[in-house]
Amino acid sequence: MSVYLLRRLIQALGVVLAMSVIVFIGVFAIGDPVEILISPDADQMERERAIAALGLDLPLWQQYAIFLGKAVQGDLGRSFVFNEPALQLILQRMPATLELAFAATFGAILIGLPLGLYAGLKPNSVGSKAIMAGSILGFSLPTFWVGLMLIMVFAVQLGWLPSTGRGETVEILGTRWSFLTADGLSHLLMPALNLALFKISLVIRLTRAGVRETMLMDYVKFARAKGLSPFRVTFVHVFKNILIPVVTVTGLEFGSTIAFSVVTESIFAWPGMGKLIIDSINVLDRPVIVAYLMIVVMMFITINLVVDLMYSVLDPRVRLESK
């Protein structure tokens, strides 16, 4: 087990390193950073001084070494726009994004699981067909358009929910959270639903497939042969078996939820790091872009690692397969 853990850790570290190279080359080597970093009015002297100060006259590998050395110390540069450390900027906005992503994941399970269960138990009913058609829509509808439609219906036409912002927040442990106030919750509802849409479809499909597969198992037939009520067969025997894969996949999807929150945050003006990255790309605030990419990549790799490890604890076969 510990060997496996060590190997996975080294692998993860390798991926982080590879990503740092890609991000570094991508952001600093493609295109001309001088153009962006130095004011166009600067004369030749100023330019050269700035180039030297930024280390842009050094060979690329040295620049990368400097970048990496600083990155390890948590220094990913200062934002041109905010004139603040880029890392700090991202970390400030991270709780908002995390809150949104958690709410979406939670909502996806809360909505997707019962619907998928129904569709799996009664695959030929009209309701199930509607659910499955809905899940196809959930997969194919562009998130941003659904977000707009939500705003149009619930904020503009019906006026039930606020369209933008986080609303009233409560501060806990130095960060602000929306879900603890009624107003914050009403602000959270639509963005979370919007972000959850894809995941709801995913959970529905997973649950349905799991139910249909589990229903064919001998132990379910045996449970029925014991004369158990359909309720108990479904909610104890079937449900417990599908819960593990559904929760695992949803957990694994958490990283992509964070990535896709870029779109949702832009629509609902949710002040998270997704909105920050879009703004930063628009004004080419490279240090912030680098910081964002590195942090999201790290989060991704951590999530994958954790889920992998959890799986190998739950299922010994996984360990054997990975040699």
């Binding site: 198992m217 001998d218 132990y219 379910v220 037939k221 045996f222 449970a223 029925r224 042969a225 014991k226 004369g227 158990l228 009520s229 108990r232 104890v236 025997h237 417990k240 078996n241 593990i244």
Partner: protein
Amino acid sequence: MAEPSPHSAPPTLEVRNLQTHFFTRAGVVRAVDDVSFTIGRGKVLGLVGESGSGKTVTGFSIMGLVDPPGRIVGGSILFQGRDLAKLSEEEMRHLRGNRIAMIFQDPMMTLNPVLRIDTQMIETVQAHEKVSEEEARGRARDALGMVGIPSPDERLKSYPHQFSGGMRQRVAIAIALLHRPDLIVADEPTTALDVTIQGQILAEVQKLCATTGTAMLWITHDLSVVAGLADDIAVMYAGRVVEFGDVGEVLDAPLHPYTHGLIGSVPSRNKRGEPLRQIPGMTPSLLKLPEGCSFRARCPRAQEDCLVMPALHDWLPGRLARCHHPHLDEVATA
């Protein structure tokens, strides 16, 4: 259609002309198409046939566990005089696991892997009787003891994967016995087990049936198991019972050519050195059964009149066969 021979006491189970079909996209699969047999109180009936002959579907039909696209389309299943085919799902549920229990083929698959043994046993008790959890646990413990599981108290707290295959099958049998059922449908319960374990379990089951008066439908393809365990035998071929009778009589002098071939193809000590006989050809597809007797194409005795499906006829007292040309000659010499 032949009427099964009348018994003095009402039999525990009497299946008459049962038909269970599966309505698939490719066509109607007549998995069970005219099956009749009776099992008396405390008796064991061996239901024998090749895989795909409809044995298991017969078992599930009795349990009321045929899933769509399958459905019982004809005949009756009289359990202590009540027709199970006419009961509602809810009425059937109260009989299942209570008066009629089932044991499945693969013990590795029948217990739910994520639930502890005690959960799976206590829920069975409580599904049919309003008893406290403590009392249910006591019943579960007794049942485990009855099937020869040592230290049942500890075992109750385990998960299925902590048991061996034989132990799991004992647990499954213990679950079946929880309510002292009148009928147990056992679908090849020993096929997946080692021979020694199989022997132990057979002995236990036989003892239990004798002491509790439970009737048993023992589904198997293993004639030697039937020979040692069953009182009566019903042989199935392509969804139909082709022969029914006392197990000793049938095995000594089978009437139906299929049974004849089946017994001939079993290797045995007293036939050592002789070449094994085999039945030529293959089991027909249940989707497209040939006209007339479905064994016709493989039968050495087939003639023109076999193009008409023969009925299950009692050629001798208590001996039924679905054949126009049964091996009556051999009965005389036997």
